[in-house]
């Protein structure tokens, strides 16, 4: 058994968890993060990546809207390389209630969000694929954010400042002494037990926070609500397009990196279903139908995959009956609520407000630890975002390497591109041809970004996220794992198989057209050429 001691344990490696870890390590508090899967593998990595301006909340939830616009401005500064400042549009279509448009403008003004009305013609000029049924349009400072990069950058910064991270390690037990929690017992993938002792334990497990509280003997009720999204093969729009109406299913199309995402649906599900929920067919229909209202030709494009995430909404009162679901931040000191010293739960909120959630949590930690340390995360840029350098300059710096490759690597890693690319041919040859991921980037990720398998690699680099969904690159990546991570050939094969199975899981809901042809070829390579479907079966038989 391994034993560690630290000051603060953070449970959950989402944006909030890694945000807290970074905040703590900047303040100089020793911290360790435990994540049962990979970082950003839960709700953080399963949204449409919209950097809200707050306009979406302005009409019904002014407080959230104000929070959003404030964080929006901060994140655009500290996380430049995770954000693309696309801008956003709210469009009123002919069958929408035009009053909502006026209301939106008025409330945005109240919340301090810079919203300006533009004519439908101007909107069409900005976004040529927009529906010609557009009556009114409002321009807002929406943007897009890549949650994987954001989480990973928080992690890098924290680790470089001395924090520890254990991924694929699940919390088994909260160790208590009397009424106080003093540490956790967890178990990793290799079935090794790890004990970590700390003064304070932060439950930042999001929707899984209910489970963490359960093992601590505390009742905390989450209200899981599933949201599904559909990815389109390429960018159908270069600006975020919102439907100007009260929030409903499928009323937003977000351009995220090389793809566009239609979001989202909302379905309440039971808590015991949160670990295996799938996108339903009727959700795909709803998304496509509503997406088509905004961008009429969207059905002609290729649906790449569909996925769903669970919103970590929670009932504020300990009992369920209140049903007072808030999307605001919920910070619970269990000493006050349940009499258990040393456990804090942070929940609710949005990806947008992850930094604020971390700040509030860390302020509470400092108060409890009796340390007078101020938060600086709103000023300190994340690693990769240190300087404001245009892509053009970086492309010029690496002249000789294709501009598309340099530009994409820079887009993904910001200034860290200088740690990744070299003018050595082996370094910049492409492993993932769809998303232009080079061998150098994969080597960097495997060695520096806490990557345990190809799915983790995908979250750090976008490998296998393009049109072919790992058809070719997965095999190359598996080979590189063998080269750089010293996994055995058998282990690499296992990683390969797991990765492709995970990819196909997301493609299943959109089995039609070109996507179906693509997957036929993928399957032919996988099974027809390599016979990978049978790999591993014989082992289980022997066992």
């Amino acid at each position: 058994m391994q034993r560690y001691e630290t000051e603060v344990i953070v449970i959950g490696g989402g944006a909030t968890g890694t945000g807290i870890l970074r905040d703590l390590s900047i303040r100089g508090i020793d911290a360790t993060l435990i994540e049962k899967n990979d970082i950003a593998s839960g709700t953080t990595g399963r949204n449409h990546g919209l950097l809200h301006s707050g306009a979406r909340y302005a009409v019904y939830d002014l407080e959230s809207a104000q929070e959003c616009i404030k964080e929006n401005k901060i994140l655009k500064k500290i996380a430049r390389h995770c954000i693309e400042d696309t801008g956003g549009l709210f469009v009123t279509l002919y069958h929408d209630n035009p009053k909502y448009h006026d209301l939106l403008l008025e409330r945005c003004k109240l919340a301090g969000i810079k919203a300006s009305e533009i004519s439908p013609m101007q909107a069409m000029a900005i976004e040529p694929n927009l529906s010609s049924h557009t009556l009114k349009a409002v321009k807002v400072p929406d943007a897009v954010i890549d949650p994987f990069r954001l989480t990973s950058s928080n992690m890098i910064d924290a680790v470089e400042r001395g924090a520890k991270i254990f991924t694929y390690t699940a919390v088994n037990k909260i160790i208590t002494s009397g009424n106080d929690s003093v540490g956790i017992e967890c178990i990793n993938k290799k079935n090794e037990k790890i004990e970590i002792y700390a003064n304070i334990i932060i439950n930042a497990a999001g929707i899984w926070g209910q489970h963490i509280c359960e093992i601590a003997g505390i009742e905390l009720k989450m209200m899981p609500s599933k949201g599904s999204m559909l990815i389109i093969d390429y960018r159908t729009n270069n600006i975020v397009i919102n439907r100007c109406r009260p929030p409903a299913d499928g009323d937003i199309v977000v351009p995220g990196d090389t793809v566009s995402i239609i979001g989202t649906t909302s379905k309440e599900i039971d808590y015991d279903k949160i670990d295996n929920c799938n996108v339903d067919d009727d959700e795909i229909d709803t998304l496509l139908k509503n997406g088509e209202d905004l961008l009429p030709n969207i059905r002609r494009t290729r649906g790449l995959r569909a996925y769903c995430g669970i919103r970590p909404l929670m009932a504020v009162s300990g009992k369920v009956k209140g049903r007072k679901i808030s999307r605001g931040i919920v910070l619970i000191d269990h000493k006050e609520r349940d009499g258990m010293e040393g456990l804090i739960t942070i929940a609710g909120g949005k990806l947008m407000t992850y930094r604020l959630m971390a700040e509030k949590t860390c302020d509470l930690i400092c108060k409890k630890l009796n340390r007078k340390l101020k938060c600086t995360t709103h000023k300190l840029p994340l690693p990769g975002s240190e300087k404001k350098i245009p892509a053009k300059q970086t492309i010029k710096h690496f002249s000789g390497i294709p501009a598309s490759t340099v530009g994409s690597t820079f887009y993904r890693h910001g200034q860290r591109v200088h740690n990744i690319l070299t003018k050595d041919k082996k370094n910049y040859r492409l492993i993932c041809e769809c998303e232009l991921v080079t061998e150098g980037e994969i080597e960097y990720a495997i060695k520096n970004l806490n990557v345990k398998n190809i799915t983790d690699l995908r979250r750090r680099t976008r490998i296998g996220m393009g049109p072919c969904q790992g058809e070719l690159c997965a095999y190359r990546a598996a080979g590189l794992f063998n080269e750089y991570n010293s996994t055995s050939p058998e282990e690499s094969l296992k990683l390969l198989k797991d990765f492709l199975e995970e990819r196909w899981n997301g493609i299943k809901p959109v089995f039609w057209g070109d996507g179906l042809r693509e997957i036929e070829l993928s399957y032919w390579i996988y099974q027809g050429l390599f016979g990978l479907g049978d790999f591993g079966d014989s082992d289980t038989e022997e066992n």
Binding site: P296, A403, G407, E433, L436, P467, C468, D514
Partner: protein, 399 residues
């Protein structure tokens, strides 16, 4: 930014077959049609900054499009990206000269002996190389005395006597550089009882498109569409051409690349061997005499793309006495004006190497090919004379 109507690139299933068939990727750093076309198109849509300069290396031979099982217009995507995103100098004298084939032709045919005298001199070639970047190793095309149009109206005034008629889109090469081909065409068609008509025409636009003069190409294309559709409407004549690239442009590129409506004529245009093949098949065959020659046939890329190679081969096989060797289909490397640029000269030679070798091995007396620039390239790199299939057919006509 992309209009959602034009999404051919999205049909790519990344099978990578096109890369295998790309003659440029084989000999250079060109990342291949898949990477340059559909793959990076997604990035160009995202941000025009992400355009790769290697796009320039594409010679637009269209072999990738022939290979593609998903019907992705790969070469068109690359061509369009080239002129949309790549920065070019405003004034490019070399490209201007190479792409204005009709302007050059009109001028040169006036003083053809002087022009030919000079373009044969190495010192002139050296200056051309030095000042505008045309490779000095290259044999330059020779010009005829006067235009084919003039000769036609002077020498063939009696075309009306035939029961059937076609419109002959002669293109620049026949008009300025190779009257023999035009005369042979008239001879062959006349012996099939088909009269030949000419209309006012401009350069089809292929060299303009290749050099990025899109507005000029559009103007020319519209002029040709108007003039051809006018006569077609009046008389219902079919339109034929002896140039495979002109035919491909008139038939497909006008709509695919230049976004012009050529629907009135696109189904009426035929490459000449297809037209003659149809006549032969319907029983309208002229009497043939043997042509005792050993010939190697090279199929040009654009005719392959057009799907016209089988007709040419079929016609050649019908000629008695002709000992035909069909060469393995390969690009000769010249790709129109591509091989006339010093920066691509070596590439274009490297691409053609295998073809030249296979011609030498075949050891023919002559080489036959449908394309005028392929002919230039082969004549320069082998010791054989190159003829057009129509030349051979004319040799076979028994009078």
């Amino acid at each position: 930014m992309i209009k959602l109507q034009n999404i051919s690139f999205d049909h790519c299933i990344k099978c990578t077959i096109c890369n295998v068939y790309c003659p440029v990727a084989r000999v250079s750093l060109f990342p291949g049609p898949k990477q340059s076309g559909p793959d990076t198109e997604r990035f160009r849509i995202k941000s025009p900054e992400l355009v790769d300069s290697t796009l320039k290396l594409c010679s637009n031979c269209k072999r990738c499009e022939i290979a593609c099982p998903s019907n992705v217009k790969i070469a068109d995507i690359i061509q369009e990206a080239k002129w949309k995103y790549l920065k070019r100098r405003w004034f490019r004298p070399r490209d201007l000269i190479l792409s204005r084939t009709d302007l050059m032709g009109k001028f040169a045919t006036l003083f053809n002996s002087i022009v030919n005298f000079f373009t044969r001199r190495s010192i002139v070639k050296f200056f051309l190389y030095l000042f505008i970047g045309i490779p000095y190793q290259k044999t330059l095309p020779e010009y005829e005395n006067g235009t084919f149009e003039k000769h036609f109206y002077k020498n063939y005034p009696d075309q009306n006597k035939f029961p059937d008629h076609v419109v002959f889109f002669h293109g620049c090469f026949v008009n300025y550089n190779n009257h023999k081909l035009g005369r042979d065409l008239v001879k062959v068609l006349n012996s099939l009882n088909v009269g030949v008509n000419l209309v006012k025409e401009k350069c089809c636009g292929v060299p303009l498109i290749a050099n990025g003069y899109i507005n000029k190409a559009k103007k020319n294309a519209q002029y040709n569409i108007n003039s051809l559709s006018e006569i077609h409407e009046k008389s219902n004549f079919k339109i034929v051409s002896t140039s495979s690239s002109c035919t491909y442009a008139l038939k497909n590129e006008y709509s695919n690349l230049l976004n012009l409506d050529n629907s009135a004529i696109s189904n009426e245009i035929e490459y000449i061997t297809k037209f003659i093949y149809d006549r032969f098949e319907s029983g309208n065959i002229f009497k043939m005499k043997p042509v005792p020659l050993r010939a190697a046939y090279h199929s040009p890329c654009h005719l392959e793309r057009l799907g016209g190679v089988i007709y040419t081969i079929d016609l050649l096989k019908r000629i008695p006495g002709l000992d035909l060797v069909i060469l393995h289909s390969e690009c000769c490397g010249i790709a129109g004006t591509y091989g006339f640029k010093k920066e691509y000269y070596k590439l274009s030679q490297d691409i053609g190497k295998d073809l030249f070798r296979s011609i030498e091995t075949a050891n023919p007396e002559i080489v036959i090919t449908d394309c005028e620039t392929c002919a230039l390239q082969i004549e320069m790199n082998t010791q054989f004379k190159v003829l057009h299939p129509v030349n051979i057919l004319a040799m076979a006509v028994k009078e």
